[in-house]
């Protein structure tokens, strides 16, 4: 089939060349917005500290480790999350759980002695959450992760086991 060429460019008309008409149109548009902002107080800004954006439940923010009713972490130190993590930012040291701390019997024989996540390396991909067989590690909806020193970016077990309601 022969190619059909459509030339959509057309020369400027007289009124377009003068350019002033277009300027006036543009000025009217900005004036409309100005009136909207100035008199009607319409704006798209979210007044941040007072008003917060609603993120969806799928938002991937700061990690947490879910805990059971005895406040024991669900993690069994299986290393799956550390293995799958593409950023290699999870460091787990496994240990044996004393049976006194495990009223549910053989379910959680292992426990993480140390569980560190380096939030500066993390890319919040959520792979750790997907890999976890115990639904232990999860990403919360918390997005305010500003810190004042590098050390604070290391999420340790104490921080990870914080109480999170819903998705946090």
């Amino acid at each position: 089939m022969a190619t059909k060429t459509v030339n959509v460019s057309k020369p400027y008309t007289w009124s377009e060349k003068i350019y002033l008409l277009a300027i006036v149109q543009g000025l009217l548009i900005t004036l409309k917005h100005f009136i909207n902002g100035f008199f009607l107080r319409k704006h798209n800004t979210i007044m941040y500290p007072e008003v917060r954006r609603e993120y969806s439940d799928r938002f991937r923010g700061a990690h947490f480790i879910s805990i059971d009713r005895n406040k024991t972490e669900n993690c069994t130190a299986c290393y799956l999350c550390q293995t799958v993590c593409p950023a290699e930012c999870i460091t787990i040291v496994a240990g044996e759980r004393e049976s006194a701390h495990n009223p549910d019997g053989v379910k959680k024989e292992k426990q993480p002695v140390k569980f560190d996540i380096d939030a500066l390396r993390c890319c919040f991909c959520g792979f750790c959450e997907e890999a976890c067989p115990k639904d232990a590690i999860k990403l919360s909806g918390k997005y305010e992760m500003a810190i004042t020193s590098r050390e604070e970016a290391k999420y340790d077990l104490v921080y990870l086991k914080r109480e999170v309601k819903g998705r946090g």
Binding site: F38, N44, T45
Partner: protein, 361 residues
């Protein structure tokens, strides 16, 4: 010079400088909030009521910064540039008449700081100085970006000054005077009793050219080529910091005030009463003794208010245009200046000369 002369001169300077300089923080605030409103944002609204103290905070910050002079600059011109930048528009403001006259203690005080007959020439001389800080600052900084910025600035101003001069010439032929006071009186009549006989009505093309040229003259968008964050980092004032940068910043807004005052004086009736203000003067006059002196003083107040309103409107237009139009490319700018505005202003000038020679008087 008697003591009375001295005091009245001082008072006039205080009024003009006071209004020009105190309008700057408000203008900076309005520029930021106005742009925000036009873009559906909120703008600075945390410091003080409506964020009005934001510019005060900014200036305080600039003041407390270290006043640093880089080692590789030409110190004399480096320091001189921001001074000229601020002095030039302030000097030009001195001849803007801001009212006809008031009568105090039986003496007539003309509301214009420098009552000189060649007022417009004086004003243009000072307004023309505005290109010097751009060139001096850019050249003395010894930095290729500043030099590029100042080169752009100077070529732009040269090309626009000509069309601006042509349109001013055409107005001079119409008014037949250099005296800004007389120009305003010339414009005080009315066509058919309701259309004000302003310069813009008599010579609309000249007014349009002048209006476009004044944007280039004050380096405002769409002609802000001396500054360009994307291609020449910051423009002619990269090497400036602290309050020396602040002075450039301040000067831009004082220049805006001056340009608005000039436009209103030349083309929009200056301090001439806005339509409807005349009856307002009469209305207020009925509450006083009604002596000619009081009426004159009341009228002067309303004339000042009229000028303020006009200047305020043009300042709004400056901000409005800035946040509406994209900037011109350099070659487009030159095209517009030399191939369109220059011939147009020239033809306009010749037409005005012929018309005023053959048809008027």
């Amino acid at each position: 010079m008697t003591l009375f002369d001295f005091i009245q001169l001082f008072a006039k300077i205080a009024v003009v400088l006071g209004f020009a300089l105190t309008s700057v923080p408000f203008l900076v605030w309005f520029e930021r909030r106005g742009s925000a409103w036009m873009q559906g944002r909120v703008g600075p609204n945390r410091v003080g009521p409506f964020g009005l103290l934001q510019s005060v905070a900014d200036v305080l910050k600039l003041f407390t910064k270290e006043s640093f002079i880089p080692g590789h600059v030409n110190k004399f011109f480096y320091v001189l540039a921001p001074v000229i930048a601020l002095a030039a528009p302030v000097g030009a403001l001195m001849v803007i008449p801001f009212g006809s006259h008031v009568i105090v203690f039986g003496q007539k005080i003309v509301l214009q700081i420098a009552e000189i007959d060649s007022g417009l020439i004086f004003l243009l001389a000072f307004a023309g100085l505005e290109v010097y800080p751009v060139i001096l600052g850019g050249w003395a900084s010894h930095n290729k970006y500043t030099v590029l910025g100042s080169l752009r600035g100077s070529s732009q101003m040269v090309s626009y000054e000509i069309s601006m001069g042509m349109s001013i010439l055409s107005m001079l032929i119409i008014y037949g005077t250099f005296n800004l006071q007389e120009m305003v009186f010339w414009q005080s009549e009315k066509i058919f009793g309701f259309i004000p006989y302003w310069g813009v009505v008599v010579n609309p093309i000249g007014a349009l050219i002048f209006f476009i040229a004044i944007f280039a003259e004050t380096n405002r968008l769409p002609f802000d080529l001396p500054e360009g964050d994307s291609e020449i980092v910051g423009g002619y004032h990269i090497e400036y910091g602290a309050m020396k940068f602040g002075m450039f910043f301040l000067a831009e807004y004082v220049a805006m005030v001056m340009a608005s005052a000039l436009i209103s004086t030349m083309f929009f009736g200056g301090f001439g009463l806005l339509p409807g203000f005349a009856s307002l003067v009469e209305f207020v006059g009925t509450f006083t003794s009604g002596s000619p002196e009081t009426v004159q003083n009341i009228q002067a107040v309303f004339e000042f208010v009229s000028l303020l309103l006009k200047v305020g409107f043009f300042l709004f237009v400056f901000v409005w245009v800035r946040w509406t139009l994209p900037r011109f490319r350099f070659d487009q700018l030159m095209d517009l200046g030399w191939k369109i505005l220059f011939p147009l202003s020239f033809v306009n000038l010749i037409v005005i000369i012929l018309v005023s020679h053959f048809f008027v008087k």
